[in-house]
């Protein structure tokens, strides 16, 4: 099951060239870039690990791409994403966020239904990969 989170996630995986163009678009808009990775991509997991510090004052995508490649090489069995933060007053939020790398095999999620009080149905999403301890997932 292909994980669909963030921008472009319903498209085929982006090539390096396409990633560089998106990064350049973000930089042209003065959005600082940060790189994050995780092996727990639950939709409610907003806290991925930071790869290095956010990169401020950059002008050219080449600088970011070097780090993107390094992050992927160091975390081949995890998800890696690129975030662009719009710091403008009034916005101050992630303006663009897309996955640049995913593990080779993605087992996906299981939907669990439990009967709650008064026979209400509660839904729960459970990642198959997360059954294993951190660092051993997606291998």
């Amino acid at each position: 099951m292909k994980l669909t989170q963030g921008t472009f996630s319903y498209l085929p995986d982006l090539t390096d060239e396409q990633i560089a163009k998106q990064v350049q678009y973000a930089l042209d808009n003065n959005w600082p870039i940060s790189i994050e990775y995780t092996d727990d991509p639950h939709p409610r997991n907003a806290y991925w690990e930071m790869y290095g510090l956010p990169m401020f004052d950059l002008k050219d995508a080449v600088a970011v791409m070097a780090d993107v490649r390094k992050a992927i090489a160091e975390h081949p069995d995890e998800y890696v994403k690129v975030n662009a933060y719009d710091a403008r007053r009034g916005r101050q939020t992630t303006a663009l966020s897309f996955i640049v790398h995913r593990p080779a095999y993605e087992p996906g999620f299981r939907l669990e239904r439990t009967t709650d009080k008064d026979r209400q149905i509660k839904y729960r999403i459970h990642s198959y990969a997360a059954d294993k301890p951190q660092g051993e997932r997606y291998k």
Partner: protein, 296 residues
């Protein structure tokens, strides 16, 4: 293959299309003197343009070496020329963004083991697609201290200068004699810096012309007496230590503006627009430079 059929290229047209002309003209207009520098910049621009044309008809050649060294005393316009150079390189398509990142030793060299590499890389990252201007570059290399981390910064610089030539251009700047020692003690660096440009000191008349440009820009005018006083001021200031060419002129004008404002206030009453514009001899004469016998 199409080019082979139409081998004639219009040089004038290519020059016009590159939009480099206006920048070079601006350089001529805004910078007084510096004739050798302007000639060199023009020569480099021509070479780059010809190289582009050669590449377009398939004449194989190596990308021209672009890293530069600007030597000269303080205030001779090194940073300003570097900014124009960045624009020229950008218009000719040799760098993608055309911005200038100014760095000194403090920005590149760390304070403890392992601190230098990330610091240098960070600056290099910011300069990607543009020009990295390293002011007083010789401070990077301190032979008297073998535990200095400057060497590490130089190594990383060298690596990027060699491997990512299409991504950024590095300009080293500083005093001539010290830069020469710096380059002799770092042969690897010296061989990768192709263009050495020396910035001559300004003459007395050139400094006056610079002052005139600055005053025009600020909407001030020298009175006839003021002109004489300023000319004498320059003569005296040039003989004093720490004379910084264009920068000293700027400072002198800034202080004269201050004295003019005080003079008008002390007099009180009404002022005419002409008086607001005029800088008088007394605004210069009260400077420390005129106080005989006293240095500094």
């Amino acid at each position: 293959m199409e080019q082979a059929a139409a081998p004639n290229l219009d040089l004038t047209e290519a020059y016009r299309a590159s939009n480099v002309g206006p920048i070079l003209d601006k350089l001529d207009r805004e910078l007084v003197g510096l004739a050798p520098v302007k000639t060199r910049i023009r020569e480099i621009a021509h070479l780059l343009l010809i190289d582009k044309l050669r590449a377009s008809v398939g004449l194989a050649n190596e990308p021209p070496p672009l890293h530069m060294s600007f030597t000269g005393h303080p205030g001779t316009g090194k940073t300003t020329v570097a900014m124009r150079m960045a624009e020229v390189l950008h218009r000719l398509g040799y760098i993608r963004k055309g911005h200038l990142v100014v760095a000194t030793r403090d920005d590149l060299v760390g304070q403890y083991i392992g601190h230098t590499a990330p610091k240098t890389r960070d600056v290099l990252k910011r300069a990607m697609g543009g020009v990295l201007f390293i002011d007083e570059a010789y401070y990077l290399y301190k032979p008297e201290n073998e535990r200095d981390y400057g060497g590490e910064a130089i190594e990383i610089l060298l690596q990027v200068m060699e491997n990512q030539r299409e991504d950024l251009v590095v300009i080293f700047a500083g005093y001539k004699d010290r830069m020469d020692t710096f380059f002799t003690s770092n042969p690897g660096l010296s061989s990768r810096v192709a263009n050495h440009i020396d910035f001559p000191d300004y003459t007395h008349d050139e400094l006056l012309a610079i002052a005139q440009l600055m005053l025009d820009h600020l909407n001030y005018e020298l009175t006839p007496d003021g002109k004489i006083a300023f000319s004498e001021y320059i003569d005296l200031r040039m003989k004093q230590p720490h004379f910084a060419n264009g920068r000293s002129v700027r400072n002198a004008i800034d202080r004269a503006r201050l004295r003019q404002a005080t003079r008008l206030f002390e007099r009180g009453g009404t002022v005419t627009p002409a008086e607001l514009k005029a800088i008088d001899a007394s605004d210069f004469r009260r400077s420390r430079v005129f106080a005989s016998g006293e240095q500094s």
